[in-house]
Amino acid sequence: MAKHLLEVNNLTTSFKIDGEYFPAVDDVNMRIRENEVLALVGESGSGKSATAFSLMGLHSHARVSGEVLFQEQDLLKNNERKMNKIRGGNIAMIFQDPMTALNPLMKIKHQILETLTIHNTKRKSEREAYTIELLDRVGIPRPERVANAYPHELSGGMRQRVVIAIAIANRPKLLIADEPTTALDVTIQAQILDLIRELQDDLGSGVLLITHDLGVVAEMADRVAVMYAGQIVEMAPVKELFTNPQHPYTRSLLNSLPSEELLGGKLHVIQGVVPALNKMDRDGCRFAPRIPWIGPEAHEHKPELREIAPGHQVRCTCYKNFYLDNSIDQKDMERRVEAGQMDGKKGASVSNE
C-alpha cells in the first residue's frame, strides 16, 4: 500500500460570529494517497471549502487547529514564507468560478509566469515557451494567442483551463479542486473533468475533489467522504458508498438523485437546511433535526465515526434504524421549524472568506 501523501488529523476551523468562535470544520480526519482521488461531498454550508482553504492555510481570520501532515511537515505549524513555497508548488488549487479567479488586469501568460517564477520552475529563458506548452497541455487551441490575451477575452471553459494550467504548472503532488465544474456549462463540465483525470494520471498526484455533484463523484473518485455540518459523517470507497450507503444523510442524498427505478416517481427531498454555525446542537447527531421521524433514542450522544466494514466509516448509530420517509411534507416541516423543534433556518451564516 502506498504511503499517505496527506494526513489530516483533528482539523478544526472556527469562524468568529458576534465575538465568539464556532467551528465550521469540526474534528476532521482524512488521508489521501498518491494517485488517489478523495471526493469531499456535502451540500452548501457543510464545510467542504472551509476544509480545503484550511489545508492551504488560506484563511486569514479563522482559528485553525489540528494537524495537516504533508511531506513530513505539519502545514499548520509553517510560517507564511514556508507556506508560500508549498502553495502553488507541491499543493495547488483549482477554483470554483473561473469568471472571477483570474486577475482581470494581467495577461494570461503573466499569470502563469508568476507561479513559475515564484517556484523557480524551469530556466528563465524557457519559462515563456513552457507557458505555451502548459496552455496546449490543458487543451487550449492556439495557445500563443491565448497567452497574450486578457481573461475577459476568454470563455468560462477556457478560463477554467487556464486556472488548471496555473495549478499544474509546477507539477503539484496534491491537487485541491474546489467545485471545479460547478460554474460551467454541462457540456464543458465533462471536458474539464476528463482533463483533471488525465492530468492526475499523468502527474500521479493525489486529488481532493470538493463537490456537491454525486455524478462527478461517481465518475472521478476513488474514495468518498460525506460531510455534514462540519463533520465527516461517512467515508467509504466509491463503489461501497454507492452500493451500500449507510448514514441517513448519504442515503437521503443518493435518493434525491434521479434514477431509472424512480422513473416517473417523486424524488426524495431533504427538508430544511444545514444549521447555522452558531445555532446548532453540537452534542447530538447533527442530522437528526432533518429526519424528525426517526426517534431521539436512535441517535447517540456525541456521535463518533466508527468503522463498520474495512475502509467504511459511519457516524452515529442512527443509520441502523433509518428509513426514508417521503410522506413528510414541506408544510409539516415548516410547522416543526416554527415550533422550535428544528434549528437552522434562522441565524448567521459565514462565508468561506
Partner: protein, 320 residues
C-alpha cells in the same frame, strides 16, 4: 489603443458644437447688446444703427453664430467691456495662474491621498485606519473656503510664514529664480487648502477599492499560487483598486481648473475663478461667456482624458 483614442476624439466633436450653440444662445438671450451700454446719448440713433449693421448685430442668428465661431477659430474672442481689452488678453494672464494652482493641487492630492487610501484599506479597522477615516469624514464636512480661511489665518496671518494674496511678489524679473520661487511660495497655501480637502474622496475610494479587491477570487488564487504579501498587494490588490482613481484623474484635474473659484477668492489669487466671479459682478458678459465656454470645453476634455487613461489601465475597456 490608437483606434480607441481616435474614435473617442470623434465623439468629442459634436459635444463641442452643441456646447458652443448653447453658450451662444444663452449669451444672446441676455438683454441688450455690446452697443447698448457703450453709446453716448448724444450720438444719433442712425449712427448706432449703422454701427450695428457694420458689426453684424442685425444679421439672423445663424450668420451671427457662424461669425462668432469663425472669429474664435481666428483667435478673436471679442472685447471685454469692463477691461476695455480683448477677452483673450484678460484671460491669458490668469489662465497660467489657475493651471499652476490646479497642477500643484492635483500633485498634492495624489502624493498624499493615494498612500493614505492604500494604507487605510490595507490596515482596515486599525488605529491608523480610524484616524485616516476620521480625517476623511471631517474633510467631507468642511467647505473648502472655510478651511481656506482658517489656513490663511493661521499660516498667513498668525504665523505670517506665507503670503496671503497675489500670485507672485512685486518687482521680480519674470523668469528669474526668485520669481519662480515667489510663485511657488504663493501657491503653497492655496494649493494645500484645496488638496487637503479635495483628497478625502480619493482616500475613501481607494480604501474601499482595496478592501473590495482583497476579497476577490483572483487574490485568493494568487495566494494559492504562493504569491508573497508584498507582491500580492502591489500586483494584484492595489492595481485593481486604483482603477477608479486613474479613471477619475481627468475629471479631478478639470474640476480643479474650474472649481478653485472660492479658494482663489479667499487668497485673492489672480486666477480664472476669481476672474469669473468678477466678470459676473461687473456684468462683463463677453468674458463670462468665454469662460463658460472654456469650462464646458474643459469638462469635455476631462472626460476624454479620463477615458483614455482608463483604457490604458484597464484592458477590458479597450474593446468595443
Amino acid at each position: 489603443m490608437i483606434k480607441f483614442t481616435i474614435r473617442r476624439l470623434l465623439i468629442t466633436f459634436p459635444q463641442l458644437v452643441l456646447l458652443s450653440v448653447l453658450v451662444f444662445f444663452m449669451g444672446s438671450l441676455m438683454p441688450g447688446d455690446a452697443l447698448s451700454g457703450l453709446i453716448d446719448p448724444s450720438i444719433p440713433a442712425e449712427a448706432i444703427e449703422a454701427r450695428r449693421e457694420a458689426l453684424g448685430l442685425n444679421n439672423p442668428w445663424y450668420i451671427q453664430y457662424r461669425d462668432w465661431v469663425v472669429a474664435m477659430f481666428q483667435g478673436d474672442f471679442g472685447q471685454s467691456i469692463f477691461h476695455q481689452r480683448p477677452v483673450m488678453d484678460v484671460i491669458g494672464s490668469r489662465l497660467m495662474n489657475t493651471i499652476w494652482l490646479s497642477v500643484f493641487s492635483v500633485i498634492i492630492i495624489y502624493v498624499i491621498g493615494i498612500p493614505l487610501g492604500l494604507i487605510s484599506g490595507r490596515y482596515k479597522d486599525s488605529l491608523l485606519d480610524s484616524v485616516i477615516t476620521g480625517y476623511t469624514y471631517l474633510g467631507f464636512a468642511t467647505p473648502t473656503f472655510v478651511f481656506g480661511l482658517v489656513v490663511l489665518w493661521i499660516f498667513g496671518y498668525h504665523f505670517g510664514v506665507f503670503p496671503t494674496n497675489g500670485s507672485v511678489g512685486a518687482g521680480l524679473e519674470p523668469g528669474s529664480v526668485d520669481y519662480i520661487l515667489s510663485k511657488i511660495n504663493h501657491l503653497i497655501l492655496p494649493s494645500f487648502s484645496i488638496a487637503l480637502i479635495g483628497l478625502v474622496g480619493t482616500v475613501q475610494y481607494l480604501r474601499s477599492g482595496v478592501i473590495e479587491a482583497q476579497q476577490k477570487d483572483y487574490v485568493m488564487l494568487a495566494r494559492a499560487k504562493g504569491v508573497k504579501q508584498v507582491s500580492l498587494y502591489l500586483k494584484h490588490i492595489f492595481r485593481n483598486a486604483i482603477i477608479p482613481i486613474a479613471a477619475f484623474f481627468g475629471y479631478e484635474l478639470v474640476g480643479l481648473l474650474g472649481g478653485s473659484i472660492f479658494i482663489e477668492w479667499v487668497y485673492a489669487y489672480p486666477g480664472m475663478g476669481a476672474l469669473f466671479l468678477e466678470s459676473i459682478q461687473t456684468r462683463d458678459f463677453s468674458v463670462a461667456n468665454v469662460l463658460i465656454l472654456f469650462y464646458g470645453f474643459l469638462t469635455i476634455v476631462g472626460a476624454l482624458l479620463s477615458d483614455i487613461i482608463l483604457s490604458i489601465v484597464d484592458p477590458r475597456i479597450r474593446i468595443k
